[in-house]
Amino acid sequence: MIGQPVNRVDGPLKVSGRATYAYEYWDAGQPLYGCIVGATIGKGRITRIHTENAERAQGVRMVMTHQNVPVQGVRDESVQFEYWRAQPVLTGPDIHYHGEPVALVVAATFEQARAAADLLDVEYTVGRGRFAFAADDDEAYIPKVVNAGLPTDTAVGDFEAGFRAAAVRVDQRYTTPYEFSMPMEPHACLVEPRGEDLVVHVSSQIVDAAQTSVAATLRMAPERIHIVTPFVGGGFGSKLGVHAETILAALAARVLGQPVKVALTRQQIFQLVGMRPTSSQRVRLAAGRDGKLTAIAHDVTMHTNPDLEFAEQTAATTRSLYAAPHRLTSHRLTPLDLPRGADVRAPGEAPGLLAVESAVDELAHALGMDPIEVRIRNEPTVDPERDVPYSDRHLVDCLRDGARRFGWEHRPATPASLREGRWLVGYGMSAAIRGHFQGPTAVQVRLEADGTGVVRTDMTDIGTGTYTILTQVVADGLGLPADRVRVELGRSGLPTSWGSGGSWGAANSCAAAARACAALREKVLVAACGDADSPLHGRDPAGAHFGDGSVRIDGAEGASQALGEIVARHHPEGMEAQGEIRFMGDDPNYSDYSIHTYGAHFAEVGVDADTAEIRLRRMLGVFSVGRVLNPKTARSQLIGGMIWGAGAALEEEAVVDSRSGAFVNRDLAQYLVPVHADVPDVEAVILDGYDDKANLLGAKGVGELGICGAGAAVANAVFNATGLRVRDFPITIEKLLPGLPDVDA
């Protein structure tokens, strides 16, 4: 079943409304409703909160502010990963960013809570906030490490000398805006007190992180926190950790001894879950006339919240992308009094490749060379900064295959030379690369006495297809039909995983499940072959084949026995085995090899010659991701990423009002993401593959690769269409309009 385009096993539940999400549980009876009140200033201090009117309002059960919030744990930086740390709220009168929670109002109904929230009267002294990003800010500083523990700066060779000596140089600055993850299901939580324990129904990507973080914040033993998150309506990184809605719901439920639920409004998501930092990226490329790069530098400055440092790894994949003897990468942070930076789909790669892959296009133009050819000429033989071999690098295959499928030969060689009626038409392409990560994950696989296979792990399905691919892996692993496999996910108490994030979830959980199946097959064979009453008795397990719910030894001449029968005879309570994979840092393959996924994006755009409206006409991505577990769910992931990339190139931008520090366009009518009409023809093709260094399945992450470089292909197509290079993303009408020719007859 692995590799088959199996439909989502949870699809019928979702389309019929029977998949229960965090905010929808009623098991514990009528919950109370919490409404978060956010600061209406960007920096300063609460001088007084008048809660009386809100407390007296109909239905109100509690108004929680910094004055009466229970004692919470503090954020502990010795805990390695942010998402496992305490996330205290309402910590004091100081306001650090616009929208920061200043109170939670809990009432019998949602409407009562919201109306009472409006009655809360908060007085502030307004401080002088820093809200406007400037790359050359004097306060820019050097972080110790960047996200995912990657080094802040790298240097190979003598960049300055290499750059100076080159025949052709590109030295440009690209800027990218604040961007938010906008899952369909807003961040939501329902907490139910059960004795001393709390059952936390939460929309979360990582169960273990949610449990640890909630426990640390509420200063409770982790085993008293029961996370339940079987279905998650999208996360994109914004649900790796828990946010104010979860902590506040938990605090309130504990104080009131009743279930409390809190969901963020769409507007609050723009304040409370963190965002992709805005960035200014200087990219310098130097090459000989033959197109061979001699020097690459990628220097990034971005914003950070001063108290919650986040350095997106924007220049990190530049370290592995192209060969060049002289290299530099760096990351700098400028503190601003804005919400924290956070992981947003393909953190680092998405904005970084937008810049670098635009710069490579500029280099190709300066060289008068086809941009695919420039990339092929700079294909490295080993990872140029780590000096280790690549595990399974097929970038050039993606480039060539994509060029053929897309009809790249029809690309206008001269920018602004192809016109169809009112449309200026252009082609663009870009390379894609993303590191593959592996995290510690355990999966238990059981066989029940009725022959059913059960997969159990606290791994999550955030809309990606985890239920489906685990079904496939275990159906193959135990020789069961898919409908005899049941997958249990998203609950604490199940074997611990690293959840969904970083595109590691599928490979982590499926590799661990495959291990568990192998161990379980072993147990089954030992039991059957050692059983004098079994038809398999005395046969050599080496000749065993699992299929159709039975195990057969020695083929047609041999014997077989139903799995259920074996289990019922020996372990009527069920047989089980656990499979585990380790942290990549403990797996030598991840230090001995440079393990990435690759792709090539191709885009055709039309730009209206009069109005500068840009419309994507078609887009193709060709990807190499090792072995594909399910081409249908993988394609959905890749297409989703490509569409996001196109949106990042042309539409997506959260705007800060530099007077108040507030995000201005706080809804999906104003914060633009692509609608269907924007993406008429998007296709993803995945090359056959198997990365034997990644894991025993040969599979690697897929989700985030789709966005990597996608925007640059679109941006490069805009240049090809118009001859205009916009380096300040997104590329919107006002940035192209001044460069367009006059309206003609």
């Binding site: 409407e111 009069d610 042309l650 539409e651 108040s660 633009l672 609608v675 009409a677 009408i733 309206v743």
Partner: protein
């Protein structure tokens, strides 16, 4: 909680008498009002649901015009054969607006009265003279990419978001109003909307208690009609700039012209200046450029929206050229 009461009268007379109550407001499709209530921008204490009043018909008028019932939903008006053949600019404007789902709910009368999409109007933490008179205009000096370049004031630079009303402006539609005494009056659409001045919270000349009962389309003007909407994405976005144009030519000369802009002002903007620069002149690009210059002569940018002035000029030129070519 903000409680409100709700009633659904079955005839217009009952509706207008019900709305005299303090805090009462009509609701039809609710595509804008419900959002505004949730965001604490509108807080009516009584809702009078007029969506099922018998005002959904589109009727022929003896003079060759059409009367569109105020409760006719946008989808139905856009799809009406008579509208499509005789008033294509209106049909085009309607289908360019919102989404299929919203057009199925939104009424003709409600579309006329939708509120601005200025983000500061929606942010109750920000000053906004339209939402809270006297509290200032945060858009001036703020993020004002979608804001007005014509007819704005120091008190407000918001734009009217409707596409439909822009087409109706070019068609010189009249709004039919019924008051509590049962008397009916008609107001030409250009007079129906106000400029912001010092009172941006007053957006139309509707009197308290009046109900929009229909829109009268005069017989279609001669010439080719076109609606062109410019926006960042291909659907589901308000216009940065839109143009409704009607152009008639005779032997290469423009004999009649109507021009209205959307997305540039507090109201759908009829450009008599552009029309004057067109009529009697050759149907050629030089003429359209003169008209575009005339239309934007008094335009003032606010920073982020400066580009709209040039964008409006270019969009007008292209729309006129396209309309004239096939008229």
């Amino acid at each position: 909680m903000r409680p409100f009461t709700y009633e659904r009268p079955t005839d217009a007379r009952t509706a207008v008498s019900a709305v005299s109550r303090s805090g009462a407001k009509f609701i039809s499709g609710g595509t804008n009002l419900l959002d505004l209530m949730k965001l604490d921008i509108e807080h009516p204490s009584h809702l009078i649901d007029i969506s099922r009043l018998p005002m959904r018909d589109i009727e022929e008028l003896p003079d060759g015009g059409l009367r569109i019932g105020a409760q006719a939903v946008n989808s139905d008006v856009a799809a009406d054969d008579r509208v499509r053949t005789r008033y294509p600019v209106l049909s085009q404007a309607l289908v360019s607006g919102a989404s299929g789902q919203l057009r199925n709910k939104a009424s003709t009368g409600g579309n006329l009265l939708q509120r601005t999409r200025c983000p500061y109007f929606y942010d109750t933490a920000a000053g906004c003279n339209k939402r809270d008179p006297g509290s200032g205009c945060s858009a001036i000096g703020g993020f004002n990419r979608i804001h007005a370049v014509l007819g704005a004031s120091d008190a407000c630079i918001a734009t009217h978001p409707s596409d439909m009303a822009v087409a109706m402006t070019a068609l010189e539609a009249e709004i039919e109003l019924l008051d509590a005494e049962g008397s009916v009056r008609r107001v030409v659409i250009t007079d129906f909307y106000r400029l912001p001045g010092d009172t941006p919270h007053l957006e139309t000349v509707l009197r308290p208690g009046e109900l929009i009962t229909g829109v009268i389309l005069p017989p279609p003007p001669p010439g080719r009609q076109l609606y062109r909407k410019v926006r960042d994405r291909a659907s589901y976005e308000f216009a940065l700039v839109s143009v409704a144009a009607v152009v008639s030519t005779e032997r290469g000369m423009i004999s009649e012209a109507r021009v209205a802009f959307g997305g540039v002002a507090h109201k759908p903007w009829r450009s008599f200046e552009a029309e004057a620069a067109l009529i009697g002149r050759p149907a050629e690009m030089a003429t359209y450029r003169d008209a575009a210059r005339a239309a934007m002569r008094d335009a003032v940018g606010q920073g982020h929206n400066d580009f709209k002035i040039e964008l409006a000029r270019r969009t007008l030129c292209r729309t006129l050229a396209q309309a004239a070519r096939s008229s």
